[in-house]
């Protein structure tokens, strides 16, 4: 061979291009194939309902006369004006629930992950055990437990430890307690996963580098478990803000949450546009807080690093 073969040489297969194209073709198809069920799911059960709801929120009319899409965005303003108290209350409840479940489950998850030994799975099962019964039954049973003359309060009143008028049910505390109880595992499990992955030699290294227990926790354990805190917070905050059952069963008119309002709009008042608008307002509120939270966690990671 006097000169190297050129690409333009007749009969020369171009080994670079052909298989490359094939590869790219296959690479393009495989991910599509694998994500197809998921994508289909998202389209049918997320995108289409979202679009329907969005459209609904911009319609006018009554259930008898039917709805027409008029682009009436004022529904949002009216709904916000009517139910701002419930919306803000729900967001605050969500924050309280998130902070409280974090405070309760962090020590619990920490202990199981670091000292659970061979019984780790048993302890995890114990956390999950109450959740083998349905949500509504669990919450209902709290109603019986906390009833004004139920097994706890009734007895305490009989023994003279509480005044006759003392009440837990139908108060803010009851609703918050119910929410915290119901959403605890959503915080505890991600925290456990994050702490379980923590390499124990990291803790030795911190100790070796002059950190006492408090500093080791603040400088190493906590920053390394932040992904778990973050995941747990989202899993707790988002559903608890939208929850309606706890307030419905354990609360009063003073604890009404936005979830209850939306539920009533759809199922009692049949005011679909307002219900849909409220749903979107709730979603925007949650998104805004989650966005702020994401930013804050990012910064904390840098702060604890320094």
């Amino acid at each position: 061979m006097e000169r190297p073969l050129q690409r333009s040489d007749p009969g020369l297969i171009e080994p670079r291009d052909k298989p490359g194209e094939d590869d790219r073709g296959r690479k393009g198809f495989v991910p599509f194939f694998l994500t197809f069920p998921g994508s289909l799911w998202l389209i049918i059960f997320f995108l289409i309902p979202m679009a329907t709801m969005m459209s609904l929120s911009l319609q006018e009319g009554t259930i008898e006369t039917g709805y027409r899409l008029t682009g009436h965005w004022q529904t949002y303003v009216e709904a916000l004006g009517k139910y701002d108290t419930q919306l803000i209350r729900s967001l605050i409840y969500g924050l309280v629930v998130t902070v409280a479940t974090l405070a309760i489950s962090y020590p619990m998850a920490y202990w199981i992950a670091l000292y659970g030994g061979r019984r780790k799975n048993l302890f995890l099962l114990l956390i999950l055990l109450p959740f083998f019964t349905p949500f509504i039954i669990r919450t209902l049973s709290w109603k019986f437990i906390l009833a004004d003359n139920g097994i706890v309060l009734g007895n305490l009143k009989e023994w003279g430890l509480l005044t006759e008028g003392y009440q837990v049910l139908a108060t803010q505390s009851a609703v918050l307690a119910g929410l915290i109880y119901n959403f605890l595992p959503f915080m505890a499990l991600p925290l456990y996963v994050a702490l379980e992955r923590l390499d124990p030699s990291m803790l030795d290294a911190a100790k070796d580098l002059y950190s006492n227990k408090r500093q080791t926790f603040l400088r190493v354990t906590l920053p390394l478990s932040l992904p778990g805190v973050f995941a747990g917070s989202l899993l707790t905050f988002i559903p608890s803000v939208g929850d309606f059952l706890n307030s419905e069963l354990l609360g009063s008119v003073n604890t009404t949450m936005i979830g209850q309002v939306i539920q009533r709009e759809f199922l009692v008042n049949s005011d679909y546009p307002e219900g849909a608008a409220l749903s979107f307002l709730l979603m925007f509120g949650v998104l805004a807080l989650v966005f702020l939270y994401t930013r804050a966690i990012g910064n904390t990671e840098e702060l604890t690093g320094g």
Partner: protein
């Protein structure tokens, strides 16, 4: 102030005795290795010096300070961990500065000390990298810098090169040795790799089952192993059964089970009479055919070549003695093809009395944990 003293230190975990009544003095500025197979208690010993485990009994002093019950964060000791244990949420500079910040060193001192240390370990310009952006060798250097920057009295290293490939390991061995002589800090180095321990250490303690088998300079431990374990774990040894015949001045005579009598320096004998095992290193043996004119050393046994293995730099002959014992001989490749011996050749193996050692019959390391490293 930074010598390390262990007195009668024992550590038991539930039923298991990990470290069994050991005493040790590591002198200031020394490069000291704890060498042994996995599970021999070397890491536990290191962790007790570091303050991560408390001894069940005994005393540990650093300089003139009793640190037996002092927590790790109050000890003037730093550790390079086997897995490096670098903080993944911090960058290189923050990792190295971590200890100094906890010690409340002034900000500008921290900066200059961290920079100096990154220069020492050859990582200038890597300060802002995240840990997962570094190679294994670089991570190893960061771990070293993070420990050394605190100017500890003693640096503990727990198999720090175990995760590196062979070439990088050789390079880091020399590097560690250079850094140690530059900073002059006492190094206590845990390894199961006998070659690594020999290359780097001023002294080696060979450990087995929670006890020290022998402590000494690499040369002394290699040339004069005192136990069968050391003889087999540190390099290869041929061991032959023998009976002490008597001692004359500084020479002792031992009658081997194969029938010949050999002599060795009397101080090498673990006892004055009775049965011993006589040892000689494979590279110390001369091999010759009975009719050869080659010189013959005073100690000799007859054998038959069984297997010969050519490895380039040398040839290993496995020979069988009259009583069925195997003796391995390494013959350096001096470019004399006629010197090659075919299997089946009758040979005479001979060696100098000074190259002979004697040990008590004892425990041998498991084959898989043998002295060749991991």
């Amino acid at each position: 102030m930074s010598d390390v003293r262990l007195e009668g230190v024992t550590k038991t975990f539930k039923e298991t005795v990990a470290v069994d009544d050991i005493s040790l003095l590591v002198e200031e500025g020394e490069f000291f290795s704890l060498l042994g197979p996995s599970g021999c208690g070397k890491t536990t010993t290191l962790r007790m010096i570091g303050g991560f485990e408390a001894p069940t009994s005994g005393r540990i002093t650093l300089g003139d300070r009793d640190v037996t019950t002092l927590p790790a964060y109050k000890r003037n000791v730093n550790t390079v961990f086997q897995s490096y244990a670098l903080f993944p949420h911090l960058d290189v500079t923050e990792n190295v500065a971590y200890g100094l910040k906890r010690k409340k060193v002034a900000k500008k001192d921290i900066d200059s000390r961290v920079q100096d240390m990154l220069t020492l370990v050859d990582l200038e310009g890597y300060g802002r990298r995240r840990i997962d952006q570094l190679s294994g060798g670089q991570q190893q250097r960061v771990a070293l810098a993070r420990a050394l920057v605190n100017r500890p009295g003693v640096l503990l290293l727990d198999e720090p090169l175990g995760a590196l490939d062979l070439k990088l390991r050789k390079q880091m061995q020399l590097e560690l040795k250079r850094i140690q002589s530059e900073v002059g800090i006492t190094f206590i180095y845990v390894t199961h790799d006998q070659e690594e321990a020999m290359t780097m250490s001023d002294r080696i303690a060979v450990m087995s089952d929670g006890r020290f088998e022998q402590i000494g300079a690499p040369h002394d431990v290699y040339e004069g192993p005192q136990t069968e374990f050391v003889a087999s774990f540190l390099g290869a040894s041929n061991l032959l059964e023998g009976e002490i015949e008597g001692v004359e001045g500084d020479r002792a005579k031992v009658r081997l089970a194969v029938g010949t009598t050999i002599s060795l320096p009397a101080e090498r004998l673990p006892r004055r009479e009775g049965a011993v095992r006589i040892g000689v290193r494979p590279e110390k043996l001369h091999i010759r055919t009975p009719d050869s004119s080659d010189r013959e050393e005073p100690n000799a046994v007859d054998a038959t070549v069984d297997i010969s293995t050519y490895t380039g730099v040398s040839t290993a002959y496995e020979c069988i003695t009259g009583d069925g014992r195997k003796i391995v001989v390494y013959v350096q490749n001096l470019g004399r093809p006629e010197a090659a011996m075919a299997p089946g050749t009758r040979v005479r193996l001979s060696w100098l009395p000074e190259h002979t050692f004697a040990v008590e019959k004892g425990k041998r390391p498991d084959v898989e944990q043998g002295g060749q490293g991991a």
